[in-house]
């Protein structure tokens, strides 16, 4: 559960989950929707995957992300967004 709270504490990751509500998207599509570098987005995806909030599927060269949340996790996502949780935290550093 700690991983879930960590994942939901970042506004970019919350926005990724919101985008995935409308359907599965490729990593490239998701990365294009944010003004951050690919390595930073990749780190965000890893956190979301580690928390089990998204699942991935390989489609040729691209990776497709699917939303995978329970009702409680979706409610937490809504609460975190409503209260603007983590809007002041620095972005995730890219992987080494």
């Amino acid at each position: 559960m700690n991983d879930v709270f960590k994942a939901l504490s970042d506004p970019t990751r919350r926005e990724v989950l919101r985008l995935l509500k409308s359907g599965p998207r490729s990593a490239g599509d998701l990365a294009d929707a944010f003004p951050v570098s690919r390595p930073t987005m990749s780190a965000h995806f890893n956190v979301l995957r580690g928390a089990g909030l998204v699942s991935t599927e390989k489609a040729g060269k691209s990776v497709i992300y699917h939303l995978n949340v329970s009702v409680l996790e979706e409610a937490l996502l809504g609460f975190a967004g409503a209260f603007g949780l983590g809007t002041g935290v620095p972005p995730v550093s890219p992987p080494e």
Binding site: S22, G23, S55, T56, E57, N68, V69, S70, V71
Partner: protein, 136 residues
């Protein structure tokens, strides 16, 4: 996964039966009020409904996401889970707080409305999916 969830379900059923029997015994000895066995059992049923509803939209970690790459159906499944959670919470809350004669009706109505709403949403998603077979 099926084996694990079956074991979990059997364990829950065993806990539910043991609690109901235990509460009946306590009521027979006048250690708890006469309505307590019903209340405790029904609150547990409501919470079990919440537990199952919560997990409805979530796939196991090792499941292949390609098998459910239909966003409409997944959204409907999440809505069904939410409806079950709300229905279960109302069911548990009614048996916890409402007078006995009202709790029975209120809890049944809540769960039936949740089931109708959830199944209706899933049926609508399937209908839309059949209307647009080429989509997602």
């Amino acid at each position: 996964m099926i084996t694990r969830s079956l074991k979990g379900s059997l364990a829950l059923a065993a806990i539910l039966l043991a609690t109901a029997y235990g509460m009946s015994l306590l009521a027979d000895f006048n250690w708890v009020g006469p309505d307590m066995p019903d209340r405790v059992t029904q609150v547990m049923i409501g919470l079990i409904l919440v537990l199952f509803g919560n997990a409805t939209g979530k796939r196991p970690r090792n499941a292949d996401p390609a098998c459910d790459s239909k966003p409409g159906l997944m959204a409907a499944q999440r809505f069904f889970g939410l409806a079950l959670v709300i229905g279960g919470l109302i069911h548990a809350g009614a048996w916890l707080l409402a007078p006995l004669e009202m709790a029975n009706t209120l809890s049944m109505v809540a769960v039936i409305i949740a089931l109708i709403a959830g199944l209706g949403r899933v049926a609508y998603a399937i209908f839309v999916k059949r209307q647009t077979p080429g989509d997602g």
